[in-house]
C-alpha cells in the first residue's frame, strides 16, 4: 500500500486501523494473546533457572525458593503464566505444526488432523514420563 496517488485515483480513501482492531474477531484476540504468551514463556525459563540456582545453592536456599513460590502473588503469576503457556503449546501442537509439517506414510500425505493427534499422543507420553519421574 504505497501512499502515492495516481493521476487516475487522486482521492483514494484509506481508513485508519482502529486501536482496538484486535477485539473485532476472536482469531485476532487469540493472536494478540499468543504474542503476549511469549513473555510468559520467557518468565517460565527465568523461574526454572532460579529453581536450578536455588537447588545448586543447597537445602536452605531451596526451602526459601519454595516459600517464595508459595506466596499468593507468585502463585497468581504462575497460574496466569500456565494459562498462557497452554495457549502457546496448543497453538504449536494442534494448529501450527500440523500445517507446517508434511508427513508421509507409505507415499501418502497424512492429513493435518492425524499429525495433531500424533502430537497429542506424544504430549501425553511426555507428561506421563514427567509425572512418573516426579511422583514415582
Amino acid at each position: 500500500m504505497k501512499t502515492e496517488h495516481t493521476p487516475f485515483h487522486p482521492r483514494w480513501y484509506r481508513p485508519r486501523v482502529p486501536v482496538f482492531w484486535w477485539l473485532r474477531r476472536r482469531s485476532y484476540l487469540l493472536f494478540v494473546l499468543r504474542e503476549l504468551s511469549s513473555v510468559f514463556v520467557a518468565w517460565f525459563v527465568v523461574f526454572l533457572l532460579l529453581l536450578v540456582n536455588a537447588v545448586a545453592q543447597g537445602p536452605e536456599d531451596y526451602r526459601r525458593f519454595l516459600d517464595w513460590s508459595a506466596t499468593p502473588g507468585m502463585l497468581l503469576l504462575n497460574v496466569v503464566a500456565l494459562c498462557f503457556i497452554l495457549l502457546h503449546a496448543v497453538t504449536w501442537l494442534f494448529t501450527l505444526s500440523p500445517h507446517a509439517m508434511v508427513v508421509r506414510l507409505r507415499g501418502r500425505r497424512l492429513p493435518p488432523a492425524a499429525i495433531g493427534a500424533g502430537n497429542l499422543v506424544a504430549w501425553m507420553l511426555a507428561s506421563a514420563l514427567a509425572a512418573f519421574l516426579i511422583l514415582g
Binding site: M1, K2, T6, H9, P10, R11, W12, Y13, R14, P15, V17, W21, W22, R24, R25, S27, Y28, F31, R34, E35, T91, T95, L96, H99, A100, M101, V102, G107, R109, P112
Partner: protein
C-alpha cells in the same frame, strides 16, 4: 422467508465525498440470489451510479471480493438468504485504498506478486521440440492446492499483519511462490528465497490463520507460509552446519 431484504451499501464518490457514506436499498429476496445479484439489481433498477467489480459470477475470476457483514467474501458465492431477515452490510475489502464505492485498488499486490517469480523457472531452457516436462499425478498433488488461488484478495483483507505493515508480502503471494517451489518441473526455488525469507516475507506472518479461514478456494495460505518457514529454517541450518557440497 420475507420477500424483501435491505442492503446497506458503502458509497464513496471521490469527487465529492471526504469519507464513505452508507446507502440503503430494499431489494427482492430470492432464494437463489447472491449478494452480487442484489448489487446487480441495485445497479440495474435502483441506482446506476453504484460501482463494484465483478465478472464470472461463479467463484472463478476473483473480482467480486467485498466485505459482507464484516467478513471478507466473494459476493457471487455469498447468498442473501443466509443473511435473512437482514439488513446486509456490503463494504469494500479492508486493507486496500478505496477508489470508489466498493472498488479497491489492489496495485500493491500486483507490484508484489512478480517479486516471487510465480512462473516455472528452469536452469536450462529446453527447446519446444524436446517435448513437455512430464509430471506424475503424485507430483502434481504436491502443489495443486496452492494453484487454486484466484487472486481475490480476501486473504489480504483478513490479515491483520498486512493491515498494520504495508510492506508484508502477504498470504496469496507467498502461497503462489510455494505453488511453483513445490512443482517438480520448477528449478527456481533458490531464486525466490531472498524475497520469501526476508523480514517482510514469511517471517512477518504471525500465524493468525484468518487468510486460510476466509479463502474461498481452500488454498490455505497460512499453511503455505508455515511450511516455507520450516523449509527456510532448515536451509539456514544446513548452510550453517554443512559444507557447501553436501547441502
Amino acid at each position: 422467508m420475507a420477500d424483501r431484504i435491505i442492503l446497506r451499501v458503502t458509497r464513496y464518490r471521490p469527487e465529492s465525498d471526504t469519507e464513505p457514506t452508507t446507502q440503503e436499498h430494499e431489494i427482492p429476496l430470492r432464494k437463489e440470489w447472491s449478494v452480487l445479484d442484489g448489487l446487480n439489481h441495485i445497479k440495474d433498477h435502483l441506482d446506476g451510479t453504484l460501482s463494484y467489480r465483478w465478472s464470472c459470477r461463479m467463484g472463478v475470476c476473483g473480482s467480486c471480493g467485498m466485505t459482507v457483514n464484516g467478513e471478507p467474501k466473494l459476493t457471487c458465492a455469498t447468498f442473501l438468504g443466509d443473511y435473512a431477515p437482514g439488513p446486509v452490510r456490503v463494504e469494500p475489502l479492508s486493507n486496500f485504498p478505496v477508489v470508489r464505492d466498493l472498488v479497491v485498488d489492489i496495485g500493491d499486490f500486483m507490484r508484489k506478486l512478480p517479486r516471487v517469480k510465480p512462473w516455472l523457472i528452469r536452469s536450462e531452457q529446453e527447446p519446444p521440440a524436446a517435448g513437455e516436462y512430464p509430471q506424475l499425478p503424485a507430483e502434481r498433488e504436491e502443489y495443486e492446492q496452492f494453484s487454486m488461488c484466484i487472486n481475490c484478495m480476501l486473504c489480504y483483507a483478513a490479515c491483520p499483519v498486512y493491515a498494520l505493515d504495508e510492506e508484508f508480502l502477504g498470504p496469496a503471494a507467498i502461497a503462489l511462490a510455494q505453488r511453483y517451489n513445490l512443482d517438480s518441473r520448477d528449478q527456481g526455488a533458490s531464486e525466490r528465497t531472498d524475497v520469501l525469507s526476508a523480514a517482510e516475507g514469511i517471517w512477518a506472518c504471525t500465524f493468525v490463520g484468518e487468510c486460510s479461514a476466509v479463502c474461498p478456494k481452500d488454498v490455505d495460505p497460512a499453511g503455505a507460509i508455515q511450511r516455507y518457514k520450516f523449509t527456510a529454517a532448515m536451509d539456514s541450518l544446513k548452510a550453517l552446519l554443512l559444507p557447501r557440497g553436501a547441502r
